[in-house]
Symmetry: C2
Subunit: 485 residues, 2 copies
């Protein structure tokens, strides 16, 4: 594939822009297995930065990593009725192994509740063994008909937290706490603002009592469910006999939670910040935060500018992830193009005249500023680069938040207006809902919009809607509608 | 399971000791899926330390991480004849997915050559795209009849490196380089000395031209194949059409390698250093390098000793992984027992009298020294703990090396002596081999010993054996024999 190929503009065909970017920025590739993608080194480096940040946050909230088997016995999956109903149609099943037909088929995990709880049940005797706070980094498989790299793939990488508690309150607090951790990660690291809230019953995780979600608005005005956290009540404890002895000596079922984010976040990152030139990475998740492109014509110049580039890298190493692109057989222009496509936040160009003048040329990846490209004194560059990156991170977050606000409307009960908005612009619409599944379904059938969440207090309108968007009945609760990935 | 249960002594039943230790030290647990284990948080924490060290070493030798699909189309596996012959009997196969029977069954990867090369073939046009230096952290599945936690499980976690090069020489150098990385990791981090060398043709990886291995000697005098590195020649390049254009403009197949280590290393760690009390961890791979056990009787004492414990932890944090065991409802003796079983290198006991005297009691996990337990001035403890840990690491490595040497013999061609050694003591035996597969097989059939490697020069005898251990023929090559896991 030609690396100088231009992307289809977002405004022309957002889906084409996305799939081209994923390939041309070296994030992922297709594989010979339907619906399974290959995460290429550059995409995987982004995932490693995400993992490191999340893993720190999980550990500092008291969670420990563990690893449970890839396979679930079919009978284990069957033990929680709603859970199996939700996941069975999507499972991949091993029926032959070691040259023989298995007596009991093994399901490749779509999620791990059904293998974790039968095992962890043996680790719990009394209230003193609680809470159990586990996390697992793993691959899971859900057989999907329509797939798209990162957003929806048959196999994906994720983390799944699984916790058990002595009381319902504590489990609910945990589910909420981890939603907060996700939100913090998405906002502080991904520069991707989210609306948090609770899912309606029809959108809950199969087997959960309550599902909480972080919803982000992509640049095409469609929502992305970016992370979910579930309060499972005692459903799985009952199904898998997970009991503990209370301080008073009674035997009770534990209260559990699960929560997960996946490589889907990379899709969210692309569609929150990317532009027609390619990816735009927030500095905290950029494998290279700064790339130095040395410019030379003669061999002597090459040595001079490369020495300077390496000197600069040495001066900044440990504070900034910095890379010197010293490839030969490639023009500086081709390098600029490639690193812009790959979303590197800052580029430094160094030519022979810059070396002579003790300066470098600094270029921001973010578009739309008059001084996107400017010369800067070399010593100053060393001093200010870290804070420039911090500033860029904040700027990207603010820009994403402003875009979301511009594309959020707070409507009362004008279903026609809603219908035409969903057929056109899209975006987030806060509107009333009477609580009936029939209305939820009707809106979905007619507009493809779904209730993303019943938003948390801070996201609600000052004057909440009084009537249902669909049936016009009062009273109504304020919910967030959008077409979603 | 009672946590104060004593382990079966190694001398009585080494296999029982091992399986009890794995459970009672909280490293792993059984699962409802045959042959699949659960890695518990403490075991996983050891694996995370191993991963971090290895990942750094891979990256500093120029490798990048990526991720390829869990599934291989059956037809892809079939393309390399020796490869499929080696792995087909061990595969787990998905035949149903999404509620339907698949047209082509999908094999759960036993190793990833057959999914990596068809994809990476598209990333390579010319010699400028080489070398390709990839690594993947993943789970793999090999259907095993007899399994043991960490040592041989149906599913295991590993890393697999896959590289492609423009010349055979470069690929062989790479295979050797990574064998060296493994050896360095095993010796410097695991404190586990290894013999390196090349496998005989019958013991090669299925599809490889040459297989190199690190072989360690466990405390029961059986060998453990701890890591292997393969030079694959052009076998996989031919099977998957991985070509490049040379500088001269010709089209050639690439030369490839693969190399891997797995959670099996945790088994090696246990059986290299563990004793009848439990695990003994080398400091560099200990999740807690130091555990402080505060000792109190009254509430006032509790506050005093806990304050001191936390002060000490704060003084050492960042330099030492240190944990304060402040659990109530548990005697100090029970805590000592648990942390000894879990192999924590150093324990610090602090009681009220220690606080008054500005001292602590320092206890080494390693047995066999007169001053295993000694009082030490508090300020001195802060100053010397990091170097004490460094010393312990070296001491463990030296002890393991001495044990291996005591249990290595260099024999010429006394097959009767060899036979009785393998029926009794076991250990490493360096002896001659004529190069015939029949002799290799006969020794195996009669003694269960196999040729672990044709050892590298530095391990060979000053006076190399002249005749084959089995048939007595000359000339013979010196090889390393042992019974192995």
């Amino acid at each position: 594939m030609a690396t100088d190929q231009r992307l289809t503009p977002q405004s022309k065909d957002f889906a084409a822009w996305y799939t081209e970017l994923v390939q041309l920025a070296g994030l992922a590739d297709y594989s010979p297995v339907r619906g399974c993608m290959v995460i290429r080194p550059y995409g995987y480096a982004v995932w490693e930065l995400m993992q490191a940040a999340l893993d720190d946050m999980f550990k500092s909230t008291g969670h420990q990593n563990a690893y449970f088997p890839l396979f679930l016995p079919q009978s284990a999956l069957d033990r929680e009725a709603e859970h199996v109903e939700g996941f069975a149609p999507q499972t991949a099943v091993v029926t032959r192994a070691g040259g023989e037909t298995l007596e009991e088929p093994l399901v490749v995990r779509p999620t791990s509740e059904a293998i974790i709880w039968p095992v962890v049940a043996n680790w719990i005797q009394s209230y003193r063994d609680l809470p159990i706070l586990l996390n697992q980094w793993a691959n899971v498989v859900r057989w999907e008909l329509r797939t798209r790299p990162f957003l929806r793939t048959t196999e994906f990488l994720w983390q799944e937290g699984h916790t058990a508690h002595a009381t319902a309150e504590e489990a609910q607090e945990e589910a909420r706490r981890m939603l907060g951790v996700y939100r913090e990660f998405m906002e502080e690291w991904m520069a991707m603002p989210v609306v948090t809230g609770e899912k309606t019953p029809s959108e809950r995780f199969a087997g959960a009592e309550r599902t909480f979600s972080c919803e982000a608005l992509m640049r095409d005005n469609r929502a992305l469910q970016a992370g979910t956290s579930h309060y499972l009540g005692q459903n799985f404890a009952r199904a898998f006999e997970v009991q503990f002895q209370t301080e008073a000596g009674r035997h009770e079922y534990v209260w559990s939670t699960s929560w997960g984010v996946s490589t889907r976040l990379i899709g969210g990152l692309i569609m929150t910040h990317g532009d027609d030139e390619g990816l735009v990475l927030p500095p905290r998740l950029a494998p290279h935060q700064v790339v130095i492109v040395p410019i030379w014509k003669s061999e002597e110049q090459r040595r001079t500018v490369l020495d300077k580039a390496r000197e600069l890298r040495a001066a900044l190493s440990g504070r900034v992830r910095i890379h010197v692109d010293d490839r030969e057989n490639m023009t500086p222009g081709a390098k600029f193009f490639e690193w812009e496509r790959k979303g590197v936040p800052l580029r430094i160009e160094i030519g022979p005249r810059d070396v002579a003048g003790s300066q470098v040329v600094l270029v921001r990846r973010l578009k739309g500023e008059a001084d996107r490209k400017r010369p800067i004194d070399e010593a100053e560059a060393v001093a200010v680069l870290p804070e420039l990156l911090t500033g860029l991170q904040a700027e990207m977050r603010a820009a994403a938040a402003a875009r979301r606000e511009e594309n959020s409307v707070r409507a009362d009960s004008d279903f026609e207006g809603f219908r035409s908005r969903m057929a056109g612009l899209g975006g987030f619409v806060y509107a009333g809902w009477c609580g009936r599944e029939a209305c939820e379904q009707k809106v979905k059938d007619e507009t493809k919009a779904t209730i993303r969440v019943i938003p948390d207090q801070e996201f609600r309108s000052q004057e909440p809607p009084e009537r249902c968007l669909c049936c016009g009945r009062a009273p109504a609760e304020e919910v967030l509608w959008a077409k979603a990935y």
